[in-house]
C-alpha cells in the first residue's frame, strides 16, 4: 500500500482556488507539521519552512514589540537552524531521549487569503512525556497562527506564532518543537 500523494495544490492564485480544496490542503499541512513535530523529525519539519522565516513563542499574547520585551522563542532562519542542529547533535540533554509527544490540532480557521499567501489560526493540545529526568506527563495548550505560502504544488510556512495559554507563567523545559 502506498501513502496518498500529499495535498497537491492546483495551479492558480490561492484566493481563487475552490475553498473546500484550500481548506483541505491547509488542514493537511497543519496535520503533517504536527506529526513531524510530535515525532521530532527535525529535518523534515525544517523543510516545511520557507527561507525568510519567523518562529515565535511570545511570553504572553503575541502583540508586543519583540525588540523591547523578551520571548521564549524568537527565531529567524539562522537561529532556528542552530536550534535544529543542536537537537541533531544527539547531545541536547534536555531532549535526550526525545520526549514522546502527541498533539491534537483543531478549530482551524483561515484568517486571510491572498494570491500566494494565507494566514491560518488553529488551537492545539499537546501531551509531552518528559523522559529526560522526571518522567512527568506535561500538557501544553495554545493557539498557533501560521503564514503559509505556495511553494510549487505544496504549501510551506514562513511564520508560526505559538501563543501558549500559560505563556505568562513559568514553564518547564520546552526544548522540543512546538
Amino acid at each position: 500500500m502506498s501513502s496518498p500523494a500529499r495535498s497537491a495544490l492546483p495551479d492558480g492564485a490561492l484566493h481563487q482556488l475552490d475553498p473546500l480544496l484550500l481548506d483541505a490542503a491547509v488542514a493537511a499541512f497543519l496535520n503533517r507539521e504536527s506529526r513531524l513535530a510530535d515525532e521530532s523529525r527535525y529535518e523534515e519539519w525544517l523543510a516545511l519552512w520557507t527561507d525568510d522565516i519567523h518562529y515565535w513563542v511570545p511570553s504572553g499574547a503575541g502583540n508586543y514589540d519583540r525588540d523591547r520585551r523578551i520571548s521564549f522563542i524568537n527565531d529567524n532562519r539562522n537561529r532556528l537552524t542552530t536550534r535544529i542542529r543542536q537537537l541533531q547533535t544527539g547531545l541536547r540533554y534536555a531532549q535526550t531521549p526525545v520526549s514522546p509527544m502527541r498533539r491534537v490540532v483543531s478549530n482551524i480557521e483561515l484568517l486571510s487569503v491572498g494570491a500566494d499567501e494565507l494566514e491560518v489560526g488553529s488551537n492545539f493540545v499537546l501531551y509531552e512525556l518528559s523522559l529526560q529526568a522526571s518522567n512527568e506527563l506535561r500538557i501544553w495548550a495554545g493557539r498557533s497562527t501560521h503564514v503559509l505560502h505556495r511553494r510549487d504544488s505544496e504549501l510551506a510556512m514562513s511564520r508560526k506564532v505559538v501563543e501558549l495559554v500559560n505563556a505568562s507563567q513559568p514553564l518547564p523545559n520546552m526544548a522540543f518543537l512546538l
Binding site: I70, N74, Q95
Partner: protein, 422 residues
C-alpha cells in the same frame, strides 16, 4: 520565631551533612531542610527582591516572593521603593494578581480595605464597627529593606545586620561592576522576566549557574553548532590552557572569572569595538579610560549573590525556592541605561538564545539538576566537592581556584552551613 515553622525544622541541625569536601544529597530533598531554609536563610537573612528600574513610576509594582511570602516591590509617591506583603492585613487575601502593574492604592477585593502605596491602611468600609484602629493596621513588610546600586534586598526578621555587611566587599564589587557597565550607572530591567519551572532543588540552580566545570560536557551540543563563542578560550580549551578562575568571595557569594580567559576585547558582546563605538565612547566619558577599558574587556560579572541573585553575565536571574523539589529560575536581560536601543536589542537576542526553558543552555542545566533530584530522592547519598581543594589559593580573604574547580561550591556550602545553624 515563626509560629508556622515545624518543631522539627526549628531544631534541625544540618551541620553533619556538610564537610569541607562532601555534602549530603538529602539537603536537596528533605522537606524539613527546606522549611528550615525558609526560616534561617530567607526570613533571618537578606535576599534579593528586585531592581529599582523595574518600578520607574509612582504606583508601579512588581510581584515577587521573599522565601515563599508573596510581596510587592512598589514605587511610592515620595519616589521611594518599598517592599510590602501582598496580603490584606484583614483576612489575608492576596491584593494584586499578575506579575506587575500600576496602582494609585491597593484595595482588597474581599471587603474593600484600601492601602496607600506605603502600606498604611487608608479606608475601611463601614468604619463604625471596626475593632482595631485603622492607624494600627498596615500591610506587613520585611523589618529591613535596603538597596545597593538599585538592587533591592529584604530581610524579614530585621536581625541580619546591615545589607552592606551581608554583601561584603565582594558582593558590593560585583553589583558595582554590573551597574558600572551602563554609561549612566543605571540598569533598565524593562524587558520582562521569563520563568523556568523545574522539579529540582533551588540550591542546585545556585550551584549550576556558577559551575565552570560542566560547560564542555553538558553544553557540548551548543559549542558544536555555535563555535567561536567567548567560552572557547575561557572554559573549553582544556584544563591546562584555560586560565580563567573561580572565586569564593565569602558570605556565600561566588564567582566565575571567565573574563581572564577571553582572547579579545568585547568577547562577551560577540562583536567588535567599531560596531559599538557609541557605547565605547559613552563608557569612556563616564568612567575614564582605565575603568572603561577594564569593563570593555571583562564585560559583565558571572556570580551568585547569596542566596538567590544570579548575575548571569548580560542576564539577571532570581532563584525562587518553591519546595524541596521545585524551583523557578526567573531571568531578565541586563539592559543598560544610556545605550542605544540597538545595543539593548542585541542583549535581548543573546538572552533569548541562552536562557529560559527553550534556550540553548538552560534546559540542559535544568535536566542535570532534575536528574540529581531523581537520584537523591530516596535516602540520598554523598556528593564529592573536592575538586581543586589541593590547588586553590587565598587572595586576601577570597579563595581562588581554576575555573573548573569546586572552590565555589565549597564557598556556597560553607556559608550555608554557618547560616543554617539553628
Amino acid at each position: 520565631m515563626n509560629p508556622a515553622l515545624s518543631a522539627v525544622a526549628a531544631s534541625l541541625d544540618v551541620s553533619e551533612r556538610i564537610t569541607p569536601d562532601r555534602v549530603h544529597g538529602s539537603l536537596y530533598t528533605d522537606p524539613d531542610v527546606f522549611d528550615a531554609e525558609l526560616q534561617r536563610i530567607f526570613h533571618r537573612g537578606w535576599s534579593f527582591v528586585g531592581h529599582e528600574s523595574e518600578v520607574p513610576g509612582v504606583g508601579d509594582w512588581v510581584s515577587r516572593r521573599v522565601g515563599r511570602d508573596p510581596v510587592l516591590l512598589v514605587r511610592t509617591r515620595a519616589g521611594e521603593v518599598t517592599v510590602l506583603a501582598n496580603r490584606c492585613a484583614h483576612r489575608g487575601v492576596q491584593l494584586c494578581t499578575g506579575s506587575s502593574g500600576t496602582n494609585g492604592s491597593f484595595s482588597c477585593m474581599f471587603h474593600g480595605w484600601t492601602y496607600a502605596l506605603t502600606g498604611e491602611l487608608r479606608a475601611v468600609p463601614q468604619p463604625i464597627g471596626q475593632g482595631t484602629a485603622a492607624a494600627e493596621l498596615a500591610l506587613d513588610r520585611p523589618r529591613a529593606v535596603d538597596r545597593y546600586r538599585g538592587f533591592v534586598f529584604a530581610n524579614p526578621s530585621g536581625g541580619a545586620g546591615p545589607l552592606a555587611e551581608h554583601l561584603g566587599v565582594g558582593g558590593r564589587e560585583l553589583l558595582d561592576w554590573a551597574a558600572d557597565l551602563s554609561p549612566t550607572g543605571e540598569l533598565d530591567l524593562s524587558a520582562g522576566w521569563l520563568g523556568q519551572r523545574s522539579p529540582s532543588n533551588w540550591k542546585m540552580w545556585a550551584e549550576s549557574d556558577n559551575d565552570g566545570y560542566h560547560l564542555g560536557r553538558l553544553h557540548a551540543s551548543l559549542w558544536r553548532v555555535a563555535p567561536g563563542t567567548q567560552y572557547e578560550s575561557a572554559a573549553l580549551a582544556g584544563e591546562e590552557r584555560v586560565v580563567s578562575t573561580c572565586r569564593d568571595r565569602g558570605n556565600g557569594h561566588i564567582e566565575l572569572e571567565f573574563w581572564k580567559g577571553y582572547d579579545k576585547d568585547l568577547a562577551w558582546l560577540g562583536t567588535g569595538r567599531e560596531k559599538v563605538a557609541d557605547y565605547v565612547a559613552a563608557l569612556t566619558a563616564a568612567r575614564g579610560a582605565e575603568r572603561a577599558e577594564e569593563l570593555l574587556w571583562k564585560g559583565p560579572p558571572h556570580a551568585l549573590i547569596f542566596p538567590n541573585l544570579f548575575l548571569g553575565e548580560m542576564n539577571l536571574a532570581i532563584i525562587e525556592p518553591v519546595s524541596a523539589g521545585q524551583t523557578i529560575h526567573h531571568h531578565t536581560p541586563l539592559l543598560l541605561g544610556g545605550v542605544s536601543p540597538g545595543f539593548n536589542t542585541r542583549v535581548l537576542r543573546q538572552s533569548e538564545a541562552a536562557m529560559g526553558p527553550a534556550g540553548f543552555l538552560l534546559p540542559d542545566d535544568a535536566t542535570a539538576s532534575e536528574r540529581m533530584q531523581v537520584a537523591f530522592a530516596g535516602t540520598g547519598g554523598w556528593m564529592d566537592l573536592s575538586r581543586g581543594l589541593q590547588r586553590e589559593v587565598f587572595e586576601g580573604t577570597d579563595r581562588v581556584g581554576h575555573v573548573s574547580d569546586e572552590t565555589v561550591n565549597r564557598g556556597f556550602w560553607r556559608h550555608y552551613r554557618a547560616v543554617m545553624t539553628p
